[in-house]
């Protein structure tokens, strides 16, 4: 497992250059990320010399853990208020900037998130290959208030991946705002991290009220998850190119 902040400069987002680029990706009120259609993209001044890299990331997890809500939270769209089974496969594009420490390079990560409903995955055979083919990373989701979803993570890991497949793996626990009722203990999480050498992150897909969104409070929620995800994706690229040399 890599140490957070070893590849990406985590403080860079607060710098002038970092916040300038981040502003290109945010809504006018600066509280959440903007959505871009397939024909448009962030307008980043070319003199900043930002390279764009594209990654494909799939979300996996038991039905109802919050895959679709997590995608909504990460991309800045409204988090659904009720649980609706995702019919089929949905993809969302996400842009996030990062500064690579040892290269001093600024990179714009363009992440394609693939989210499929569990029932659709089981019923139709074309959906899982559509998600898995060429995937760069997989986010395994569980819910803090559903121990069954946490226990399923090892099964998902063995079913969907191998240790040497070069796919970046991260576990993400949702509904962390309900951690007072959590059925998953800190020890469970430490054990999972140690046994599988995979980081376990936490997220709460709560829609902020207007008042709470001050000083980037809305983006602040997703910054740690996105930074970790980008760092691991970059690290995995470094490892693969190291193997190829």
């Amino acid at each position: 497992m890599i140490v957070p902040g070893s590849l990406l400069d985590l403080e860079w987002l607060r710098s002038n250059e970092g916040s300038q680029i981040l502003n290109c990706l945010l809504h006018r009120n600066g509280t959440r990320l903007r959505q871009f259609g397939l024909l448009d993209g962030p307008q980043i001044p070319s003199q900043l010399n930002v390279e764009e890299v594209t990654y494909k990331v799939m979300l996996a997890g038991k039905t109802g853990v919050g895959k679709t809500s997590t995608v909504a939270k990460l991309t800045g769209t409204d988090v659904p208020l009720t649980h609706n089974e995702t019919p089929g496969l949905q993809t969302s594009n996400l842009y996030w900037p990062g500064k690579i420490k040892h290269l001093g390079k600024t990179v714009l990560f363009n992440i394609h998130l693939f989210d499929a409903g569990e029932a659709a995955l089981k019923r139709y055979d074309h959906i899982l290959p559509a998600c898995k083919d060429g995937v760069d990373g997989i986010l395994f989701l569980f819910s803090f208030v559903d121990k069954g979803s946490f226990d399923e993570i090892p099964q998902l890991l063995t079913r969907l991946t191998n240790p040497d497949d070069g796919v970046c793996k991260i576990v993400l626990g949702t509904k962390f705002d309900l951690h007072a009722h959590s059925e998953v203990t800190q020890r469970d999480i430490r054990d999972l991290e140690n046994n599988w050498q995979i980081p376990v992150l936490r997220i709460r897909n709560v829609q902020h009220s207007q008042q709470a969104e001050t000083s980037g409070g809305g983006v602040g929620d997703v910054t740690p998850v996105l930074n970790t995800l980008c760092e691991h994706l970059w690290h995995r690229d470094v490892v693969i190119s190291g193997k190829n040399l």
């Binding site: 679709t68 089974e85 949905q90 993809t91 409903g117 659709a120 019923r123 074309h126």
Partner: protein
């Protein structure tokens, strides 16, 4: 208006699901049981219980293919039963669309069915919302469209892209309404057009989707894939495909075919919320209108005809939609007929075919004009002289139909 939708097995009356809309408590099990029991009692005696009206509610029963029973309970809006029957027909078709007819007609494992049918709930809940919806397709059985300044150019872009995707069914939606569609898309049945038109804007906003769907009339047992792509904010391109191409394959094609269309798409998006190009002028007294073409199953409507006309305090936008909707439900089935089953019985009681009807209320006036294949329902301010409504409605219809570039 509050509403309940119940689904039970036809044979045993076992509850499958219960959806509701509005600030109401869930129906207790004994009530569901007795609603089903009275229906089965009639069936055992060779009769079919179709509907009943209480002092403030209406209940309609319908059986589908000896497999499932659907019951809908809503407030009594004095409309003909045919509209609630239409709702149940749409509910059944929605279930076929997302789940497939085979398994709906032969339920093998009840517990698994109850779990898997949840994929339809989002669409069913939306259909139940009825009067609070901003669209009219569920009641007119015609898909909501909008007119853009350059439909011809958009049509060319769409036809080229759909062909490249290896399909013949495709459409472009702007602001949740269909702007242009391929010839084969328009040849889908009215129910299929309406449900697809409702489903696409309803789903969680995202860049692209690959959803297995069944076409209730065209292909109820063999699934196809509905692929949607968000090209710009509020604009989606949709294609119905077979097993290929994959969503990832089409991403690049979407960019290649639609990048030249960016300016046209932006101009199309500007039409919202009027839904009609600014080149078309409409009478100052019109608060909203609903124009239905029963042959092509298209429905053009708007409640924001003159932008911020300052009349929102008198009649707010949601109120205008509610008035138009209930005016439609009162007129169609009583004075005028439409392709919706059951709407012929009311008008058949008259010795002549009604072409115009109107109502005058305290804060507004409504006029309905039938000129086959079109039916136009207009909501006017109360300032308009009653005798003038007929000619202005005629002029308005003429303005829409004379321009050949407007495909209504």
């Amino acid at each position: 208006m509050a509403a309940y939708l119940l689904c039970l097995t036809a044979g045993g009356g076992i509850p499958i699901f219960s959806r509701s809309h509005g600030d109401v408590k869930p129906l207790p099990f004994p009530v569901i049981g007795s609603l089903n029991a009275v229906h089965m009692f009639a069936a055992n005696h060779g009769a079919t219980l179709k509907s009943t009206t209480t002092s403030d509610a209406k209940i309609v029963w319908r059986d589908f293919h000896d497999s499932l029973s659907l019951i809908v309970i809503t407030g009594n809006d004095q409309a003909n039963d045919c509209h609630l029957n239409r709702l149940l027909e749409n509910v059944w078709s929605a279930m076929v669309m997302l789940f497939g007819q085979d398994e709906l007609m032969n339920i093998k494992n009840l517990e698994r069915f109850k779990r898997d049918i949840k994929v339809c709930f989002q669409l069913l809940d939306h259909l139940l919302e009825q009067s609070v919806l901003s669209t009219f397709s569920d009641v007119t059985q015609a898909v909501d469209i909008l007119l853009t300044p350059d439909n011809g150019a958009l049509q060319n872009f769409l036809d080229a892209f759909v062909e490249a995707a290896g399909s013949t069914y495709g459409c472009l939606t702007v602001g949740g309404r269909v702007a242009v569609a391929t010839h084969k898309w328009w040849s889908l049945s009215a129910t299929e057009l309406v449900l697809l038109g409702v489903l696409i804007p309803l789903l969680t906003p995202c860049t692209s989707r690959d959803i297995p769907i069944y076409l209730p009339q065209g292909s109820p047992t063999v699934p196809h894939r509905l692929l949607t792509f968000q090209v710009m904010r509020g604009v989606e391109v949709c294609v119905i495909c077979g097993p290929t191409p994959s969503v990832a394959d089409l991403h690049n094609e979407v960019v290649r075919f639609w990048r030249p269309a960016v300016e046209v798409l932006k101009a199309a998006y500007q039409v919202i919320p009027r839904y009609v190009p600014s080149t078309l002028t409409l009478d100052q007294n019109i608060l909203g209108f609903l124009l239905v073409n029963n042959e092509t199953s298209r429905c053009l409507n708007s409640v924001c005809v003159h932008g911020k006309d300052g009349k929102e305090e008198i009649v707010s936008l949601p109120k205008r939609r509610e008035i138009l909707r209930s005016f439609y439900k009162r007129v169609v089935g009583t004075y005028m007929s439409s392709p919706i089953e059951g709407t012929e019985t009311g008008p058949a009681e008259f010795s002549h075919t009604a072409t115009d009807t109107y109502t005058v209320c305290e804060g507004h006036k409504c006029y309905a004009l039938s000129s086959p294949p079109h039916q136009l329902f207009v909501l006017y301010t109360s300032a308009i002289p009653t005798f003038a409504m007929r000619s202005i409605t005629n002029k308005t219809l003429h303005a829409f139909t004379k321009d050949k570039s407007f495909c209504i």
